[in-house]
């Protein structure tokens, strides 16, 4: 099916540039006239994902596929991976360092929020290989 395919490199250790992929996606969805609440849902989840890759995985790739009635975002990194996904999905659980927390990140709401705000949430992770998160918002 014809759709818009966008790929962005998310630079590790660069909080300032994190969010650029989300901004571009928002621009596209606003152009489509997608319901603002749906734009907000994917923005929150995708931005969280971008920030996660910066904090935990030294960056990665954000891939967005925009269809007429949905957006699918994949966040792919080659970081150390998540040892216990079930635990990582618990609200408040975080492995972020003090340094990161002092920047206001690492509250342990990242993955739970990504799940909460999307219609479909999938996570695959292999220790030593990396993590892939797939987010879908329908509109």
């Amino acid at each position: 099916m014809e759709h818009l395919h966008l790929e962005y490199d998310v630079d590790g250790n660069n909080f300032v540039s994190a969010g650029q992929a989300t901004e571009n996606v928002k621009f596209c969805l606003k152009g489509l006239g997608v319901n603002p609440q749906d734009i907000r849902r994917i923005a929150i989840a995708m931005y969280e994902g971008e920030i996660n890759m910066v904090i935990h995985a030294n960056g990665g790739k954000a891939i967005a596929d925009i269809y007429l009635d949905k957006i699918v975002v994949q966040l792919i990194d080659s970081g150390e991976g998540i040892a216990n996904i079930e635990q990582a999905m618990q609200p408040g659980f975080s492995t972020a360092t003090e340094d990161i927390r002092s920047l206001g990140f690492g509250a342990g709401m990242g993955l739970p929020n990504m799940k909460k705000y999307t219609d479909d949430f999938a996570i695959e992770s292999t220790l030593g290989v990396g993590t892939k998160i797939t987010l879908t918002v329908k509109f």
Binding site: E2, H3, L4, L6, G19, T22, E23, K26, F27, C28, K30, G31, L32, G33, P36, Q37, I39, R40, A43, I44, Y47, E48, I66, L68, G104, N113
Partner: protein
């Protein structure tokens, strides 16, 4: 389209005889609303938020901000001047701001009313609403009309967070008009004039987006009124005690002043339109959950940074800081003014045009795909040589039919496509 016409009339226009087509304004415009076409700048008014950045950057003085000429006050028998707090920062060596207000009466105004009075009241109503806890947080200030326009057109998600109060200038206009009528002036004789620091206020007061009735009859520019005042003010021997406001109103002149007046600890104040856009993106992404009140000003420094002012914003801010000690902490309380909450409330909801490529989703989708397909063929230099500010804007212009479909990128060496 009526809205576009209003914007064309009341924001910024081009003096084509002065424009040299340099493209500085194209690159500077924060909403990508300007193009160079046939060697001259041209504004896409649907995208313009009236911030005035193009006026600021234009070395050829070809960007003409819209405002009413001072002579317009002569159309009215009873002339009221609305004076913004930032106006006080424009004057050097004025020991007492009453000299400024007295001089305004000397040049023909019958009554001067400080917008700082309205600001004090708006601050107090905001305090009440914030402590009642009924507003959606973070609450975003509506005092800067360029920011309001930006949110309305580009950040529809954040509209429920807007403070539902009229800006101080509208509150002041209502109060000043009432005051004159209570002194026996016939309503038809009254002309209310705001001395504006920026084109955004001109547009807002002319377009009447959030208010049912127009309380302001004309919007003058600070620079023009300043020129008229200078010869008078230097000869003044004494002043009348005309100022009614306190520091609570005065501090609205610069960024952070409004937020400080809300008396809520968790506030954020950002100024400069690029910073404002960055904050709005972040708010939309759901970060900054620890902030309760957000004050945003399109101009650097806040209203002292308005492009119709005469003084450097930092100089003006420093002067206003010096003036603080001469004011009471608060000049007007809600009890004294005794108006119901409705008096302060926004009266109309904003309608949003938004940034959509087409009202039909399917058509918009096809346009989006076309924009992306074209974008892949471009060098991604964002050089501006084509007259558009970025490669993305160039693609958008072609797909939206703003330029002929066969327009080519001047930097394209023919290796792509």
């Amino acid at each position: 389209m009526q809205k576009t016409n209003l914007k064309k009339l009341h924001t910024v226009t081009l003096d084509a005889s002065k424009c040299i087509g340099c493209g500085s304004c194209v690159k500077r415009c924060p909403t990508e609303a300007i193009r160079v076409r046939n060697g001259k700048a041209s504004i896409i008014y649907d995208k313009c938020v009236a911030c005035g950045e193009c006026v600021r950057i234009c070395k050829s003085l070809a960007k003409i901000p819209s405002y009413d000429k001072l002579e317009m006050v002569n159309n009215y028998k009873y002339k009221i001047a609305l004076v913004a707090p930032s106006f006080y920062g424009q004057f050097n060596n004025v020991a007492n701001i009453n000299y400024i207000l007295t001089a305004l009466k000397k040049i023909g105004f019958d009554f001067v009313f400080e917008v700082g009075v309205g600001a004090e009241l708006v601050s107090q109503v905001t305090q009440k609403l914030v402590s009642a806890g009924k507003l959606k947080k973070p609450i975003i200030s509506t005092a800067c009309p360029a920011v309001l326009e930006l949110i309305n057109e580009r950040f529809e998600n954040l509209k429920p967070n807007l403070l539902p109060l009229l800006p101080p200038v509208d509150v002041s206009a209502k109060l000043a008009r009432e005051r004159a009528i209570s002194h026996g002036v016939a309503e038809s004789d009254i002309g209310v004039f705001f001395i504006s620091p920026c084109p955004a206020k001109v547009y807002a007061l002319k377009a009447n987006k959030i208010i049912e009735q127009n309380y302001v009859d004309g919007v003058l520019s600070v620079s023009e009124v300043y020129m008229a005042l200078m010869p008078v003010i230097s000869k003044l021997q004494e002043s009348k005690n005309l100022s009614e406001m306190g520091v609570l109103g005065l501090q609205w002149a610069s960024s952070g002043g409004e937020a400080a007046g809300v008396m809520c600890e968790k506030y954020l104040a950002a100024d400069g339109i690029e910073n404002v856009i960055d904050i709005l993106e972040r708010l939309e992404n759901g970060t900054m959950t620890d902030v309760e009140f957000v004050e945003l000003n399109a101009c650097i420094g806040g209203c002292v940074g308005g492009v119709l002012n005469v003084e450097n914003p930092f100089v003006a801010k420093a002067r206003i800081r010096q003036l603080r000690k001469k004011f009471p902490s608060i000049g007007n309380t809600l009890q004294e003014i005794d108006k119901p909450l409705e008096f302060y409330l926004v009266q109309r909801q904003l309608d949003t045009n938004g940034q959509r490529f087409d009202n039909d989703r399917q058509v918009a989708f096809e346009k989006l795909l076309e924009i992306q397909r074209l974008y892949q063929t471009l060098p991604h230099l964002d050089c501006g040589i084509c007259g558009a500010p970025s490669c993305r804007a160039f693609c958008e212009d072609i797909v939206m039919g703003r330029v002929p479909a066969d327009t080519v990128c001047p930097m394209d060496k023919g290796t792509k496509q």
